[in-house]
């Protein structure tokens, strides 16, 4: 498996650390209430098809990357930095 790090280019997956679904980056407010926190922490979709994951380029540039991946074909259709503006990152 190869992942295209937006900073370093395409690298072997051994350079990356997997961290689950990308919704984990969308943190509720402190006051959001137990349901919102439960949803954020524990409830995940399990799609047969496209999904977005978080990967950390731990043996590379230390960037957190959102990887769009198909769970059926294993095809990776896109990667972007978590700090990318369209992610609500740097404004």
């Amino acid at each position: 498996m190869r992942i295209n790090c937006p900073l370093c280019g395409t690298r072997d997956r051994r350079e990356f650390t997997y961290y689950g679904a990308s919704v984990y980056a969308d943190r509720p407010a402190e006051s959001a209430g137990p349901e919102a926190w439960d949803d954020y922490l524990h409830l995940r979709d399990n799609p047969a098809g496209e999904t977005t994951d978080l990967w950390y380029h731990e043996l590379g540039c230390a960037a957190w990357i959102e990887v769009t991946r198909n769970t059926v074909t294993h095809e990776i259709s896109g990667t972007r930095l978590l700090t990318a503006p369209e992610k609500g990152g740097a404004k």
Binding site: E30, L41, Y56, G89, K91
Partner: protein
């Protein structure tokens, strides 16, 4: 026997080798199989289950019969294909699955019991009594069935793994592969041409066809010379591509040193490659298939392509009198080539009534019904149309039931091939592995001209997808004959067993039995009969077995479908796949700057993650670790000790928003921390559990140094990067690990200041450098960082110097400490000192613990948000139902307590339903002269002062303990502040 004038071997170079204890000679370029056949050795193996005598059937890695053991002792390798193993001086091979010898095998008795040993016999025969299965039946069956055996000794030979990258990976070097490599190579693409054989050329080496008006092998040689001259082409022989994986990654096994007599010790035996290719061409050829008939497994029966391959490439006639059984025109070449070489061809049996074969002894109307010859074929038994039986003497029967494209790699990503009626075989659909295209025989195109053309087309397609322009010339002229095949799988109504899967001893009867017993799905049939498993991997028997199953179940072959082809394509030794991972190579070793000094003093080392840390520093007369560590604890409490704490994580954090950032990741507030001050911090995971704890120092305005525990250093760094990038990407803050840049030593004890001042250029005192302060200190010309923190409860400093000074500072600190009546201390003493003080480690903060559980709920600031705060307020995470950190002290001070013991109310039965908690850390305290423990007890803080029963079912202890505060020693903390 060797035929004069035939073959493309250099006969000037003879090579001696041994097989089954006898000496033989062959030529350089011979495989074990070709050299043995040349010496008229036909018996090369015994079958898996029935110990039937077996001979070589193929010329390649798909060989099911000629499996041998190579080498001796720890270095022996079982199940080596004699068709792949090259001969070399000193080669020592032997047959396997036979005792005492291949020729006389006692276990041939299995053959007598063969009616009992059909498909599913394990499940039916050895059902009862249950206990007999493991103790009696299975060991017996294991001994009798099976192939080669492992030595069970440690193998010290070198193996290697490596990476390669290319634009185009060409798999196989027959006409299609060579043409693909030439086309892409000439266009300037980075090409890797991988060939399993030790010589490139594929079928061109084994046929008599011409390519571009010259012998195929000569054309191949010229093509290879051109390829070798191109700097952008890498030729890899002896390299089998074993698997296709995501993202254009391929696994490949290279046999580096298996063909060399006395290889240098550092030359790897094999190398496992990971090849990353932007595009790939699968030109792996095809496997010829057998036809099932009575006793079709005798030595001397082989595929038609293999028979003429031995003749044309190695100059070997596998028999003196050849017969041929076939269902297609291609196989007629075998008879023609032998006749041209002057070898007698006794009869050609073509199952097609209308077959034409000019100049061949075609015997229309004859049907093969059986074979004869116990350890090698002596005759075939045939019946004419009226059923009249006769014998045709022959010692080699060449069989062709058609060819199966070697499409295995195309199926490795779960793609399903399609059935092609005209060649009666499955072929790959385009795109089954993205970027991989099959060409030539691997794609069901069998003529030489067709292979050359498809190889070129596949390369052109790849080049255009890569945006490269090609200058493809004309495809060389070669034969372009049609296959003309009539599907034919078995001779009906065999009198005896007719084999499908030779490697697993599976017959047509077994497949029919599976269907009868409703194992009618192809995947069920495979598992019930073991057809296509283990050495075969669907190479030889797959389609034949499918056809029989399709017939037995009344379905067609396309509806029956094929089993799943999975990597690896050929067996890969674990030593190659895990190369570098043996012994110390299993995990990286991180060593501190004082590692050598510690080992020189005889300190046993403890693994802490990847780090190695000194456990204790034994002195003369100390017989046990306890004596040494008790002395070290007392030394710290009464004099001074020095401990290497460099392994703790150090993260340098800088930026205008650094304080704000620390407020977000720590539960308590850091933005108020003044330069020159240090604060203890608690970090939660987002789910409210404690992630880590440690101190963070404010070195200067907007410049902090965070310390983490050794165990969590990587996790915390990853976490900080996540929080920064996910939650506050626009903040001005940067964090980087500096763990390895600094050597850091704890100096602890009442004489700690005296020791430091003996080295410092400007002495420090308690007033100017109070508890929880930090600053710089010049030590003999080196600027050190100094932190006034304590993990022992004594006056404590941690002094950090750039790592290059670590060893020197350690030496000096330890010798000065010794002159003050102290010395170095290790992990055991460190642990006892912190248990006495109730300080936490990851034994306590093990991932299921909240700030409330460890009594630090007051550290979760109400004034600000922090990671984990929202979740930490969930119901169930605070309150009396939680197990809370307490100290435990046995009522009898000498009573032993250990970590892992469980806590129960006195009088309650010690079973899990009554469980009230558990012990996380325990030690003998030389300071308090008692065993002590830290643990978690339900509603523990409210139970301080009561007693609890501590039961350790593993160590068989049962002790009454007093529940106390987790801080056993100096609860006011006055000693550390002094």
């Amino acid at each position: 026997m060797r035929i004069a004038g035939k073959g493309i071997l250099d006969r000037s170079r003879t090579v001696g080798f041994r097989f089954d204890g006898r000496d033989y000679t062959g030529f350089e370029g011979d495989t074990l199989a070709s050299a043995l056949l040349a010496s008229d050795v036909r018996l090369m193996g015994r079958s898996f289950k029935y110990h039937r005598p077996r001979g070589v059937m193929t010329t390649g890695s798909e060989e099911p019969n000629a499996l041998v053991t190579v080498g001796q002792g720890a270095r022996q390798v079982p199940n080596v294909r004699a068709t792949v193993q090259e001969i070399h001086a000193g080669l020592e091979a032997r047959g396997q699955n036979a005792w005492p010898s291949l020729g006389f095998d006692v276990l041939e008795l299995n053959e007598v019991f063969s009616p009992l040993l059909g498909a599913g016999f394990y499940y039916k025969t050895f059902m009862w009594p249950k206990a007999f299965w493991e103790s009696l039946y299975e060991p017996l069956i294991r001994r009798a069935a099976g192939l080669g055996a492992l030595s069970k000794q440690h193998n010290d030979e070198a193996y290697e793994k490596a990476w390669a990258f290319c634009d185009l990976l060409v798999i196989g070097s027959g006409p299609a592969g060579l043409m693909a490599a030439l086309t892409a190579g000439r266009a300037g693409a980075d090409v890797i041409l991988a060939e399993e054989d030790h010589r490139m050329g594929g079928r061109l080496l084994m046929e008599t066809h011409e390519v571009a008006g010259k012998p195929g092998a000569d054309w191949a040689e010229e093509a290879l010379q051109e390829l070798a001259s191109l700097p952008n082409v890498r030729l890899m022989t002896r390299t089998t591509v074993t698997g296709a994986y995501d993202g254009g990654t391929f696994g490949a096994l290279e046999r580096v040193g298996l063909h060399i007599a006395n290889p240098p010790a550092d030359l790897p035996r094999e190398c496992f490659w990971r090849i990353v290719a932007r595009r790939a061409v699968l030109a792996s050829g095809a496997h010829e298939r057998q036809i099932a008939f009575s006793n079709n497994d005798r030595p001397g029966i082989m595929t038609a392509g293999a028979a003429r391959g031995y003749l044309n490439r190695w100059g070997v006639a596998p028999g003196h009198s050849i017969t041929l059984l076939c269902n297609n025109d291609d196989a007629h070449r075998t008879a023609r080539d032998f006749i041209a070489a002057g070898v007698n061809v006794e009869a050609v049996l073509d199952v097609r009534a209308d077959a034409k074969a000019e100049g061949l002894p075609l015997r229309p109307g004859l049907r093969i019904v059986d074979t004869a010859g116990r350890k090698g074929l002596s005759a075939i038994i045939v019946a004419d149309r009226e059923g009249k039986i006769s014998r045709i003497p022959t010692d080699c029967l060449a069989v062709s039931g058609g060819w199966n494209p070697a499409l295995h790699l195309t199926c490795h990503m779960n793609g399903r091939p399609v059935w092609r009626e005209d060649i009666a075989a499955f072929v790959a659909r385009p795109g089954m592995v993205p970027g991989l295209a099959a060409a030539g025989a691997a794609n069901g195109t069998f003529s030489t001209q067709g292979c050359l053309r498809e190889g070129q087309e596949a390369a052109i397609l790849a080049l255009s997808e890569l945006g490269m322009s090609e200058k493809a010339g004309a495809v060389p002229q070669a034969e372009d004959g049609a296959v003309n095949l009539r599907a034919y799988w078995e001779v009906p109504k065999p009198k005896h067993r007719a084999w499908l899967d030779f490697a697993n001893d599976v017959t047509t009867k077994d497949v029919r039995l599976a269907a009868e017993e409703n194992f009618a799905s192809v995947e069920h049939m495979k598992r019930y009969t073991t057809q296509g498993m283990a050495p075969d991997q669907g190479k030889n028997s797959n389609i034949g077995a499918l056809a029989i199953l399709a017939d037995a179940t009344g379905r067609g072959i396309p509806e029956t479908g094929t089993t799943t082809f999975r990597p690896p394509y050929v067996p890969v030794t674990i030593a190659a796949m895990g190369a570098g991972g043996q012994g110390a190579g299993f995990a990286p070793q991180r060593l501190t700057t004082t590692d050598k000094a510690a080992r020189d003093r005889g300190a046993p080392m403890i693994e802490a993650g990847l780090w190695y840390r000194a456990a204790y520093f034994p002195r003369p007369g100390e017989a046990t670790w306890r004596e040494a560590s008790d002395r070290e604890v007392t030394m710290v409490r009464e004099r001074v000790g020095v401990c290497d704490v460099s392994t703790l994580g150090k993260i340098d954090i800088q930026g205008r928003d650094a304080g704000r950032f620390l407020d977000l990741v720590y539960t308590n507030t850091f933005s108020t921390l003044k330069p020159g001050r240090v604060r203890y911090g608690l970090m939660l995971r987002e789910d409210g559990m404690v992630m880590d704890d440690g101190t963070t120092a404010c070195l200067a305005e907007n410049h902090y140094l965070m310390t983490t525990t050794t165990a969590a250093a990587g996790q915390v760094m990853r976490h900080l990067d996540f929080v920064k990038q996910a939650h506050c990407p626009d903040w001005d803050v940067r964090a980087i690990s500096v763990t390895e840049n600094w050597a850091q030593f704890a100096v602890a004890g009442p004489l700690a200041r005296e020791l430091l001042n003996s080295l410092a250029q400007t002495p420090i005192d308690a007033g100017t450098f109070p508890f929880l302060s930090c600053g710089t200190l010049r030590l003999m010309g080196v600027e050190a960082r100094l932190f006034r923190i304590s993990f022992s409860g004594e006056i404590g400093y941690e002094v950090a110097v750039p790592a290059r000074y670590g060893a020197a500072l350690w030496r000096d600190l330890v010798s000065r400490a010794e002159s003050l009546g102290g010395g170095a201390y290790g992990m055991e003493a460190l642990n006892i000192l912190r248990i006495e003080k109730g300080f936490l480690t990851h034994a306590e903060i093990h991932g299921r613990i909240t700030a409330f559980d460890v009594g630090l709920q007051g550290m979760v600031s109400a004034k600000k948000d922090c990671i984990g705060k929202g979740a930490s307020q969930r119901p169930g995470l605070t309150g009396p139902e939680r197990e809370q950190l307490v100290g435990l002290k046995p009522v009898q001070p000498g009573a032993l307590i250990g970590a892992g013991a469980h806590l129960f109310d006195q009088g309650a039965e010690p079973i899990s339903a009554n469980d009230k908690g558990y012990v996380t850390s325990a030690c003998w305290s030389p300071t308090l002269q008692s065993h002590l423990a830290l643990g978690f007890l339900k509603d523990g803080r409210a139970r301080i002062g009561s007693s609890v029963r501590l039961v350790d079912h593993l160590r068989k202890t049962d002790t009454v303990c007093e529940v106390v505060s987790p801080v056993f020693f100096d609860p006011e903390g006055g000693r550390a502040r002094g």
